[in-house]
Symmetry: C2
Subunit: 165 residues, 2 copies
Amino acid sequence: MSEHTLSKRSLSKRSFEDFHPGMEMSFGPRLVTRDEIVAFAAEFDPQPMHMDEDAGRRSMLRGLAGSGWHTCCLLMRMVFDGLLVQSSAMGSPGVDEIDWRAPLRPDSSITVRMRVMETRASRSRPGVGLVKFHFDVVDQTGTQIMTMIATLMFGMRVALGSAAS
Amino acid sequence: MSEHTLSKRSLSKRSFEDFHPGMEMSFGPRLVTRDEIVAFAAEFDPQPMHMDEDAGRRSMLRGLAGSGWHTCCLLMRMVFDGLLVQSSAMGSPGVDEIDWRAPLRPDSSITVRMRVMETRASRSRPGVGLVKFHFDVVDQTGTQIMTMIATLMFGMRVALGSAAS
């Protein structure tokens, strides 16, 4: 790999400085099958409406629907693949809010829409910045399945020692 | 199974009326292995510090540590097994707050402590009540791994048509 390519890769890696309030990205679509929904539920959230069509129909969800935690985990993976894998992401201190708004149905195709709400330097960790994001998960019909507000930590470019900063 | 047994089972099923502010329960302990941590991360959150010891040591977490979403999913399963499986639980509208406080280490043995914060009847759904819980996840050393505030919906006993109400 040439030095030129390495340099391009380094520049394409997102650091704290690359996030600004109002910035938007989207990830997906990603198909979610019935088998995935039931397998996730069997391991982590075996409530009947996540496991069985009849139980789902009798529930408030009016049909088989994925665990809300499954939606969180799918969002995490989609944001990893679309953004974090090529970034200075350092994890997250936590989540401010999750709203489960509509059922995640088998064979949905979901998209994550992400918007930067605010950015600030960490007070306790030099070289680290905090980015607060608003996430929407929508299915192929445009139905809003989930919203989430969460903060992620990113290394600053200056702290990574890149000449590009 | 005798009618007596059935009746006892029905009475032991927790409904909205059984929750009161200040009420506490705990679930676990549950062992969390390295293999589980890495398998979860590989599927949902393959950030290097969740996948590899060396990457973990170089990260803010100072060692291999499970995804925060893994801790959420383990909490969900422990609360299901210890409470929801024998209850009128109807799912959750969402989560108010998640704080990831310390790393989830391989071969931890985690316990969930749950406290009822408030209870109220649903304004929009007759026969349904909302219970807001505070959850702590602690490991075998007493370290607080995660806290969460979340609301669950439970059917009221009167709405379930039980003579016991």
